[in-house]
Amino acid sequence: MTPDELEDQLGDPRDPGNPLGFAAIVAADERALDFVAGQRALAGFDLLTDGLVPVSGVIDGVAGRVEALELLRTVYRRDPRLGTRITAPGDQLARLGAAVGALDTGLRTTLRHAGTRRLYGRTVLDLPYIRASLATVFVDLLICDAVATCPVPPPLVAEVVQVLARRLTLAMRELSVILGARFYVREGEHAIFGKLLRDVEVICRSAGPITGSSQPAAGTAITVAACLSVWRASQDPFLSEPTWLHAALARIEAGPRWRPTGPVAGWLVGELLTRHAELRSFGLTRRCLPG
């Protein structure tokens, strides 16, 4: 099964009538129950024997790895807990890479909120800082995707896991600040965000505690190399431009306080809004999503 086929099978997650959508996922979560409908659906698709599990092992080559990750993300963009049940236990890299799907939904939920919520006589999305903040999360998502899909030498897996865990947490927190009180309320169409935040946190924390062998410089080097190689290899009109790469490198270098400004911010936000309007994923594949 391809990621596109799986997306179609799972349907538009925002459709309140979709038994596999956010409303059903949040309802199950609220009752602290497993999402049985989702489990049944996934079991029906026979993903386990389709080779979903071995993201970093059995599927060889970058293309196979990306394909497998995208399949996982299709599930994680709806319910990471459901995904955790089909990802190989112990494969932290696969879980964190798949969690990029949850971040995608987090960003989408926040964009919808910012586009409709009116404060100070305009929409939240019209506030320049909010646009810069959303663009920052977009850059973080691209960085995470680049790192998650690059080949990692085994001795550096722990570093990459740490890099992804920290950046995913940071990005979800940034979105929660934009959502403000709405992030804190567990009802309405933003309710999925709080659940995703908790799930992403569980995934990032299970990446393991800091022990003492960390080499932050190696983590940074891999992150930079991953972004560079995406830029070099890409034929995509957006990704082959150096603008996003500059933004990504600045973000990696300058840390949590960096925000894009001026034309770079405008360009990133333009791409973000186009993808949002065209229902495409915010990651490297820019895949079409149902809805």
Binding site: R118, Y120, Y184, V185, E201, T211, G212
Partner: protein
């Protein structure tokens, strides 16, 4: 009641972590824990002494609220809401109204604060709840939503539009006694399920031409926004206690986890823990100078309260994430103590004006702040008073709280003088000098921001963050200069930890942390050594609220 007595009562089973976790899971109000606080009389500290309570020094209340927040943020937020609900009356009400309210609160009445509305959030100018004049009073109409204790509360202070066109003089504050309202004219809205503080009662209230007497009006008609903005200066400053308590709680869980594990504690773990201690020292320094500023520099609270409310919760969020990395899977365990803390704390950065709202408020003051820095010095006596613990403070005078007009920041304006008093050649002096350079650079850049209330550029927010860091640095330098190991011995916070004073350990670690956040290059080896030392000392059980036996022992026993 003093802190020791409060700590003793906090040993009550109602504050047992398992019991509080179970309540959170069931989303039940922590009734028993709040009752313990009522019995010990914490609510007296919500009422100024002149109105019959025991609130005379805001900086002395900080450790009380922090001690409760350290056990459980939900309980502190649920109980402390009464202070927020009452503060408009302390700031804008007349003596009779304030005395009446003081009597009710000390007697156990719960007061709530109705500011926000469903469609307007922090945008108070857009509020739709209205009050129209009626016979001997006013008629309230409209809905307030996401209000802490709106349903449980006996009284609620409501901001309502009294002029259809709104505007700065278009709103008024009303102290509404729900027990005297016509039940047919109002209804309380259902409790809203929330991400954290699940037991707290976040709900709302809807009025339908509900009559309130003329005596409900706080201050004069049209003064509502001015009163609210001044009240927010006090509550935003007070929020530091909540975040500091959460930070202590996080440290305590980390220490317990590390010391309880079978494996030896590695250097990296100690260093990360020490970095968190440095961050707590920074947050506490801001909390201390800010609460003392209420008394000694009230006219500057416009800036100081915005800085405190933006900075302290943000630092603590960051710190909790680092501690989460230290704890690993334990931190992620749903239903666990850290998980609850991690869900509870973000609310501090949201309510009472979010981090972004407060940064925006600070940005609006940039031109004045830049001008004040050029026109050094600041109020030197005021700065000495806010940075010297134990010096008695003047009584708080709400009339001296200003709005925008007089904004200045003496603590930062006095930084050059303070750095000049440090002994030449020490590591601390080098760090403080780097801070001063960063502060000079920042103020130069402040003048370049195009000020427009509507179109605040992202660059201005970055400057606001740097301003907060410089302010925190000035607080650290000031507190270091103003105190000694002896003089802080009775201060029940991290700054009262004697082991952190020799060789200026806490101040070096705090400035190292701040300069790193500012992007200023520091000697990383020296900084990390300071973190390592703090982490090691903390694990050795040096600081009483966070030791392995904490929080069962009181400060008195440990000292």
């Amino acid at each position: 009641m003093d802190l020791d007595q409060l700590e003793e009562r906090l040993a009550d089973p109602a504050f047992g972590p398992d019991r509080l976790l179970a309540l959170d899971q069931r989303e039940e109000f922590p009734t028993q824990a709040c009752q313990v606080l009522d019995e010990v009389g914490l609510q007296r500290y919500y009422v100024p002494t002149r109105h019959g309570g025991r609130l005379s020094d805001f900086s002395a209340s900080l450790p009380l609220l922090r001690a409760v927040a350290r056990r459980d943020l939900t309980v502190m937020i649920a109980h402390g809401k009464t202070f927020l609900g009452a503060v408009s009356v302390w700031v804008g009400g007349d003596a009779e109204q304030a005395a009446r309210l003081g009597e009710q609160i000390t007697g156990g009445a719960v007061v709530s604060w109705g500011l926000t509305e469903r469609d307007h959030g922090s945008d108070l100018f857009a509020g739709e709840v209205s009050a129209e004049p009626a016979v001997d009073g006013w008629l309230l109409t409209g809905e307030k939503w996401l209000i802490n204790n709106a349903t449980r509360g006996d009284l609620i202070c409501v901001l309502a539009r009294t002029r259809a066109a709104g505007g700065p003089r278009g709103f008024s504050s009303f102290l509404v006694d729900k027990r005297q309202l016509d039940p047919a004219r109002f209804r309380c809205l259902p409790k809203v399920p929330t991400h954290g503080i699940r037991g707290a009662e976040i709900s709302g209230i809807s009025f339908d031409r509900a009559w309130v007497p003329a005596t409900a009006l706080v201050g004069a008609a049209g003064e509502g926004l001015a009163i609210t903005l001044r009240a927010l200066q006090l509550t935003r400053t007070g929020c530091a206690a909540l975040s500091l308590g959460a930070a202590d709680h996080g440290l305590s869980l980390a220490v317990r986890h590390l010391t309880g594990a079978a494996e030896p504690i590695g250097v990296t773990q100690r260093r990360v823990l020490g970095e968190a201690v440095a961050a707590v020292a920074v947050a506490e320094a801001v909390g201390v100078v800010a609460t003392r500023s209420i008394h000694a520099l009230p006219a500057e609270l416009t800036a100081v309260s915005a800085i405190t409310k933006a900075f302290v919760p943000t630092v603590v969020e960051q710190l909790l994430d680092r501690l989460g990395e230290l704890l690993g899977p334990v931190a992620g365990q749903p239903g666990g103590e850290f998980d609850k803390l991690r869900r509870d704390h973000p609310i501090v950065g949201i309510f009472d004006g979010s981090t972004l709202v407060n940064r925006n408020a600070l940005i609006n003051q940039f031109p004045k702040l830049a001008g004040a820095y050029r026109a050094l010095p600041g109020d030197r006596a005021g700065v000495r008073a806010v940075t010297t613990l134990g010096v008695s403070l003047p009584e708080f005078d709400p009339q001296r709280l200003s709005l925008l007009s007089r904004s200045a920041c003496s603590l930062i304006q006095e930084l050059p003088e303070a750095v000049g008093r440090l002994p030449a050649g020490s590591v601390l002096t080098r760090l403080a000098t780097a801070l001063l350079t960063a502060t000079d650079d920042l103020h130069h850049e402040l003048t370049t921001v195009q000020s427009s209330v509507r179109d605040v550029p992202p660059e201005a927010f970055a400057l606001a963050e740097r301003f907060e860091l410089c302010f925190a640095g000035a607080a650290v330098v000031g507190l270091w200069l103003g105190n000694t190991t002896e003089s802080v011995r009775c201060w029940p916070g991290l700054l009262g930890w004697a082991a952190a004073w020799p060789d200026a350990l806490w101040a070096r670690a705090a400035l190292g942390w701040l300069l790193t956040e500012l992007g200023v290059e520091v000697d990383a080896g020296q900084r990390d050594d300071a973190y390592l030392q703090l982490g090691t000392d903390l694990l050795a059980g040096g600081w009483w609220p966070v030791g392995p036996e904490a929080p069962a022992t009181s400060p008195k026993e440990r000292r």
